[in-house]
């Protein structure tokens, strides 16, 4: 329980002359839910992109289960068990809902590529097992009734849930959610929070969460990391963060000031 699942060690990322991330370090232990918060432009999304391999850090180290993942392709990092979602709704809009989740399960479907071409018995078995697993996932996210619908036709909330289902299908050990409830109404957001909590419990998934919805973040997270201008300005349990002066100045206070 105490071993760090993800260790982010002094990563920096520069765009041209701009320091989007500067010496940011934090770690996530197995079973933890950690929130990453900060004002717009603080570097949260850049941090997500660097950790998930979409871009490489200018300097610093990232270890997942003690192995360095710097320089690995995003797809390889996914196979290690580190899976992310995107800020905007990201689904495959033209495919059916179930096919969306099957694609998410691509890397975790134990089937040889050749086998799937020849449609061998083993391949059929593996695929149908994956399909059952995906249907289960859809059921948990209350999407099963739409399984044959075109994903693009789902409601906004439905698309957000589908995005999570696609990520879950990859059997993550660490799930990185980028503003998962942005744009959901309060009820939906609360439901979503309960869902994450439940998944965390039943699937033993650790979670790294970027979110502006403070109620959700405060209620859900074991620990918070606060970024501002690319630097980490605070880290601690929610109660500490709420009381932290510099956090109030940079971020929470903005609401009050407005």
């Amino acid at each position: 329980m105490s071993a760090a699942l993800l260790e982010v060690d002094a990563i920096s990322r520069r765009f041209g002359g701009l320091n989007a991330l500067k010496d940011v370090s934090f770690s996530i232990k197995t079973g933890e839910i950690v929130g990453l918060i900060g004002p717009n432009g603080a570097g949260k999304t850049t941090c997500f992109n660097v950790v998930s391999g979409v871009m490489s850090p200018s300097s610093g180290a990232i270890r997942f289960e003690q192995r360095s993942i710097v320089g690995k392709k995003p797809s390889a990092i996914v196979s290690e068990g580190l899976v992310r979602t995107f800020q905007a709704t990201t689904i495959f809009p033209d495919a059916t809902v179930i096919e969306n989740v099957m694609r998410g399960a691509f890397a975790t479907t134990p089937v040889s590529m050749l086998g799937s071409i020849f449609n061998t018995r083993a391949a059929r078995t593996a695929l149908s097992a994956t399909r059952s697993r995906c249907e289960l996932l859809l059921e948990r996210l209350s999407l099963l009734q739409f399984r044959q619908r075109r994903a693009g036709e789902l409601s906004y909330g439905g698309q957000r849930r589908l995005g999570v289902a696609i990520a879950l299908a990859a059997r993550p050990k660490l799930l990185m959610l980028d503003e998962p409830v942005a744009g959901l109404n309060p009820e939906e957001a609360a439901d979503f929070g309960r869902l994450i909590k439940e998944l965390h419990k039943t699937e033993n998934i650790s979670v790294l969460l970027v979110e502006h919805h403070m109620r959700l973040v405060m209620g859900l997270c074991d620990r918070l990391v606060v970024l501002d201008h690319g630097e980490k300005i605070a880290e601690g349990v929610p109660a500490e963060i709420r009381a932290n002066r510099s956090v109030i100045q940079a971020y929470l206070g903005a609401e009050e000031a407005a």
């Binding site: 995003p74 797809s75 899976v83 990201t90 998410g104 691509f106 890397a107």
Partner: protein
């Protein structure tokens, strides 16, 4: 093959009622039987020649469609066709390699070349990929034209042998027809199986949403290269088959215009489906023959028909067939 498609395959269609599944199967059997028997009924070699070109063009269009299935359109496809043709023709002329092996070699060499080129070119996507493949195709033509010691430059290669299977030379149109038909069935079946497999799933994911595909654990560059190499390899092998049929090869044989022709087949037939490429090739290849007599106006009529198809059947010929099979039960989903 009929009715299923690159776009819909693997989308986990609702299970068709037995009768609905029977109809496409029956059509398939009838078409196959017709393809086997019809050529026997005509003594007109010209129609068989035309049928041969239709089959070869179908393969070219399908192979381009395979590359397009990862969302990339190549404007240099003819260069791969030509590369395959040159490999096999030169192997036959210089090393007396039997054409049938030459075709395999051509497929391997062009496929391998596509792997190497793909590593560089596939970093670009969308319209930039289209443009860079156009340029690469132009460079290829120039190289073939100027590397005289090997390719004989503009003089071209003459006396290329016909394919021979177990000592039986496929020197007549009819014999080649059955060879081309077999090749066509193999390619179409292979591509169909591929698109139905996990590969197809990966290809479609990449075409629809690259970022999400990558974060779903699909190695985008790997699968793009696989699609590019397979598509180019098939094109190269088919180009080789064609050159042992035409038996003359020059840098003019496959040019930018041919690349455009393949794309046209794909678009006119229906670019999101494999069968669309086939339909496009089957429709466009014999089309000029209908008005060959109108010299001068021939091309104008062709252009007008092409425009009309684009204007009035925007989803390609395949959409006509599909609405026939689905009988309007499933609403067409706009792209």
């Amino acid at each position: 093959m009929e009715g299923s498609s690159i776009a819909t395959m693997g989308r986990d269609e609702p299970r068709l009622a037995p009768r609905r599944r029977l109809l496409p199967a029956a059509v398939l059997v009838i078409v196959l039987a017709a393809a086997l028997i019809l050529p026997q009924l005509t003594s007109n070699q010209f129609y068989i020649h035309l049928a041969n070109l239709m089959l070869l063009n179908s393969i070219f269009a399908v192979s381009l469609g395979l590359i397009a299935s990862v969302g990339q359109i190549s404007l240099g496809h003819a260069a791969f066709v030509a590369a395959g043709a040159y490999v096999s023709a030169l192997a036959a002329l210089s090393f007396k390699l039997p054409p049938i092996l030459g075709i395999v070699l051509a497929g391997l060499v062009t496929g391998l070349a596509a792997v190497l080129l793909g590593k560089i070119l596939l970093r670009l996507r969308g319209v930039y990929f289209v443009l860079v493949t156009f340029l690469a195709g132009q460079v290829f033509t120039l190289i073939v034209l100027n590397w005289e010691s090997v390719t004989h430059g503009a003089n071209g290669l003459l006396g290329i042998p016909a394919i021979s299977i177990f000592g039986l030379p496929l020197s007549t149109r009819l014999r080649f027809y059955y060879f081309a038909l077999a090749a066509f069935i193999i390619v179409v079946t292979f591509v169909w199986a591929l698109m139905r497999s996990q590969y197809g799933r990966a290809f479609r994911s990449i075409a629809e949403n690259v970022r999400l595909a990558e974060s779903s654990g699909i190695d985008v560059s790997h699968y793009q290269i696989v699609a590019f190499a397979l598509g180019s390899g098939i094109a190269g092998a088919a180009g080789a088959a064609m050159v042992h049929y035409i038996r003359f090869l020059s840098p003019d044989s496959f040019t930018f215009n041919d690349s455009i022709a393949y794309i046209t087949m794909l678009v006119v037939g229906g670019r999101h489906t494999m069968i669309g490429g086939v339909l496009g090739a089957l429709f466009l290849t014999p089309l000029p023959e209908l008005f060959r007599g109108f010299v001068g106006a021939q091309h104008i009529i062709y252009g007008v028909i092409l425009l009309s198809v684009l204007l009035f059947i925007p989803n390609g010929l395949v959409s006509i067939g599909r609405s026939f099979f689905s009988k309007g039960s499933e609403p067409e989903t706009p792209k």
